[in-house]
């Protein structure tokens, strides 16, 4: 509504000033709205971009490549906030919780003896997770494993 020209009997300088003040306010408002909208849009776009390698924990989690683990060998992985021990036998891959049931130390695999050994107080578990000797009171929990296309998946 440009009836300022009608009302304003002062010189063009003041006219310019008043118009530019009004325009300035309009620009501020428009700019602010733009800033607000982009402040909403850009985080959303960044959020939508996939997070590589950190998918949410689904049914079975891929933890290793089959080739990484030699037969009779092992691999330790972190999953679901705790340590797991993967052991490859001639027939299959077995997955155990790597936390000793005695005092919570992380256990190791003794390949030559084919036993799971805890370095802290010499607790020994067999390939089923059962306690063979030493102080552990309970067997090691086991987890189901699937090997698909050379990739090892564990279900927690």
């Amino acid at each position: 509504m440009k009836n300022t020209e009608d009302q304003n009997l002062e010189g063009p300088a003041v006219l310019k000033k008043e118009m530019s003040r009004r325009d300035f306010l309009d620009w501020v408002i428009k700019g602010g709205i733009l800033a607000t909208l982009s402040g909403m849009l850009f985080p959303a776009l960044a959020y939508l971009w996939p997070v590589m390698g950190h998918g949410p924990k689904v049914d079975m989690e891929e933890v290793a490549a089959l080739d990484e683990i030699p037969v009779g060998g092992f691999k330790k992985v972190f999953l679901g906030g705790s340590a797991l021990l993967l052991i490859r036998t001639a027939q299959e891959i077995k997955a155990f919780s790597a936390i000793c049931t005695h005092l919570g130390c992380v256990v190791d695999w003794d390949g030559p003896k084919r036993e799971i050994v805890c370095p802290c107080h010499a607790g020994v578990f067999d390939l089923e997770g059962r306690v063979v000797s030493g102080p552990p009171p309970r067997p090691l929990p086991t987890y189901p494993v699937k090997v698909i296309n050379g990739k090892v998946f564990i279900k927690l």
């Binding site: 408002i29 602010g32 906030g81 340590a83 130390c105 370095p119």
Partner: protein
Amino acid sequence: MNHHDRSINAGLIVFSLGILAVCQGSGLAQTTQTPQVNSCVVCHSDMQEDMKGSIHSQQGIFCDRCHGGDPAQSTKELAKAPGTGYIGAPSKKQIAEMCGNCHANVEIMNFYGIRTDQLAQYKTSMHGKKLFQGDTNVAVCSDCHGEHDILPVGDPGSSVYPLNLSKTCNRCHGNEKLMSQYKLPSDIFKIYQTSVHGKALLEKKDTGAASCISCHGYHGAVPPGARDVGTTCGKCHMNEKKHFLESVHVTASEQGKFSECISCHGNHEVKPASKVLYDQTCIRCHSAEGPEAKRGGEILKMLTEAEEKLRSTTALVKQASIEGIFVEPEMASLESVKTNVIAMAPLQHTLSPERVSELHKKVISNTADIDRSIHQKRQSLWLRKLALIPMWALIIVMISALWAKYRQLHARPGNKKDGKEKRS
């Protein structure tokens, strides 16, 4: 029937009768026999209660097997007549041999699956040697296992059940008069009760804890020599023993100058190991300013530092989780730190600062990583809060601009259709 068949019949009958007579007459190893009449308890009725629950009477083994006599007879004279083998209350030596008659006989014990070397072991023990030399003050089978009320070792009521065993040993070994004859102390049980093993066994009922027989043996009980103590402790404390054998004290131990475990930890009075031992025991042999004590001090420093770092990082992680930070990766990392700290305990027996520092370095670096990660997460939370300032700045600018626009519109006379100044 013809003559031939009649002879065979007769022969068979005589033969069977003969067998029956033999079976009736002989008294040994009749587990398949039907329970006999036991006339002994008619007079000795007080014995019956004790015998009732015992493992022997459950298996059909009664008074005559140890005391002799004829339980089928109904009068005292006939029951205890000469020829029945009656011996009355057996002497200690008789007890050992009599128990051994069955319990050292492989063919008899085969059926029960019980081992048969107890008597042989006993003869090698202090108790056994002294007994066969004529000393009747020592323990024999019945002193520990009981006489009439013997229960299997695995029965919680048995006097030799792990929870009861040390009290059984204490019957003699706590008797001052008896022990002074052998110049042995009589307060061992009292001391043992204060020890970590004693508390575990007697208070926490942990049957896996070491008691008298774990170190001294039982049927073959001897006091272990200085060298052998390490073997007995090491039966359970395997890693500690393994590491000790890598340490500088091994030679001293072999020379008998140093007892593997006892010299620092004690035996009957062993308490839970603590770092205090570093201050108290090294100086028993080493000078406090010497290089050995210094090495001990280095190890002590590393242990203390590692434990402290674990404690402080665990507290930090816990605090972060209370603040609402997600700490799963850090907690996973803490597991391996905890492992290393716990593993330092057996490892310190190598008495080598170099070995201990391997684990110590890992602990320090892992906890540093965890601390850093937590601080990073805290900082990003802080940054979020900081971002509120520019946001509110923008909002205030917008509100002011909109308000100014609003006032502007209402200041313009063209806006009012009826010319009146209106405020909405």
